[in-house]
Amino acid sequence: MARVVFTANLQRHVECPAAEAEGATVREALEAVFRMNDRLRGYVLDDQQALRRHMAIVVDGKPLRDRVHLSDPISAESAVYVLQALSGG
């Protein structure tokens, strides 16, 4: 299973420890996490279920490409980091 890690800054608002999640895409892995922690969803995704504008996801060292559908593929060994994007320069 892929390992999904959330920025420590999120912990202040909603408990979200690192999780092991099954899935072939970033979307599937995140949905697996949200099934156990639904409140977390709104902190990561917007109303259209796309990645929030100032959030970033890095999969195995590479930034997420599909911010709308989160269709980037992952493997069982992947490390998925959900981060704050640096905004404002």
Binding site: G42, Y43, V44, D47, Q48, A85
Partner: protein, 384 residues
């Protein structure tokens, strides 16, 4: 005057209380977080606070029995595939909650009902104390909504919500910038009611269009409910016919300008009249001299240092009278010319319809060479 202020700021929700002739910060909630607005529900005793976490989105919290709990925030429905939905400036409207700009309880006969005004222009209603929310589709799907535009915000904002004290099904909202809208049936049908308002900082063909007016704060007299006031970006307007028509109140102290935004409230001691507040001083409007001297206390009143956001019961029987102000997030609208008359005189875009004017804005041809901008409007254009 109230004995307690609840002040929403970018750095937390501050409870400021008066005692021994002085004011002090008694308590702070959400220290360090951006609180866009707060609401106290006298029907239940619940408190509500809207937080904008920036990266992490907009959240809503409710306090019961002293404990804050995150509850559902209004959420926009899925945007239909291929739908083109743009505001009056031609900018794509996001189908996502950008900010909570107004929050209001329903009438005393509407248990659990809350109204919530948002950016990018959606009005939401909850019937269960904020546990669930519904977008008011009758307003959102009105084609005139696409003429609304953002001022100092990126997209249109529902700036205030005003429940008629005679009938809770009559609700008026102030849209920045989209005029005053009224429903008389609890939200099923809506009508724009901003006739008479004007925006001297816009080209003349557009400046009197009711659907682009920029009312910030609406206040309604409880004892003479046909009388309303609007703190508009262009100044202060008053209606004596339940928002059917408006006329400007000019040259009042401390200022009729809305930059920075003065706040207005229905007078507690002189129902039918209003007061304007800036910093810690409240100035009686000269309008009060012609107001009926009813004895009933005004239900709705506000006090703020800047841009009041909360209507609140002010009857003397209420032990915990309080008011909240929104976070000082900057003027939600572009600056106003100091001399509206000269601005109008100089603004000579000439004889085109509002539709033409909007088209020119979208195409980038606004302002055209014949539109002589006062310095304030230069600032508006630079901001845009």
């Amino acid at each position: 005057m109230s004995d307690r202020l609840v002040v929403s700021t970018r750095k937390g929700l501050f409870w400021v209380e008066r005692g021994n002739g002085d004011w002090r910060v008694a308590h702070v909630d959400f220290l360090g977080d951006n609180v866009s607005i707060a609401l106290h529900d006298l029907r239940t005793g619940y408190d509500y606070a809207a937080l904008n976490h920036g990266h992490f989105g907009v959240k809503l919290h409710r306090r019961e029995n002293g404990v804050w709990t995150e509850i559902a925030a209004p959420a926009y429905p899925p945007k239909p595939e291929g739908l083109v939905d743009r505001d009056g400036w031609g900018k794509d409207i996001p189908y996502s909650l950008i900010n909570i700009f107004s929050l209001e309880t329903g009438g005393p006969d509407e248990d659990g009902l809350l109204w919530c005004g948002t950016i990018p222009g959606g009005l939401f209603r909850s019937r269960d104390h904020g546990a669930t929310w519904e977008l008011i589709r009758s307003l959102w799907d009105n084609p005139k909504r696409q003429q609304w535009m953002g001022g100092g915000t990126d997209w249109p904002a529902i700036h205030s919500i005003c429940i008629d004290p005679r009938d809770s099904a009559i609700v008026r909202i102030g849209v920045s910038c989209g005029g005053v809208w009224e429903t008389r049936d609890g939200g099923n049908a809506w009508e724009c009611r901003a006739h008479g308002m004007f925006a001297a900082f816009l080209p003349p063909e557009l400046g009197r269009d009711p659907n682009v007016q920029d009312p910030h704060r609406l206040a309604q007299s409880r004892s003479a409910p046909d009388r309303l006031w609007a703190q508009h970006h262009n100044g202060i307007f008053r209606s004596d016919d339940a928002s059917a028509s408006w006329r400007e109140i000019a040259d009042v102290r401390p200022s009729s300008s809305a930059s920075p935004s003065p706040s207005i409230r229905a007078s507690r001691t002189r129902p039918g009249s209003c007061r304007q507040s800036r910093t810690s001083a409240a100035f009686p409007s000269r309008e009060s001299s012609s107001s009926p001297a009813h004895a009933t206390p005004a239900r709705r009143s506000t006090f703020s240092a800047r841009g009041c956001r909360r209507s609140t019961p002010m009857t003397s029987s209420i032990a915990t009278r309080w008011t909240s102000t929104r976070a000082a997030t900057g003027s939600p609208s572009p600056p106003r010319p100091a001399d509206s008359t000269s601005a109008k005189t100089r603004a000579t875009a000439g004889g085109r319809s509002p539709t033409d004017c909007r088209r020119r804005m979208r195409s980038g041809s606004f302002p055209d060479p014949t539109f002589r901008r006062p310095a304030h409007v230069v600032a508006l254009c630079a901001f845009m």
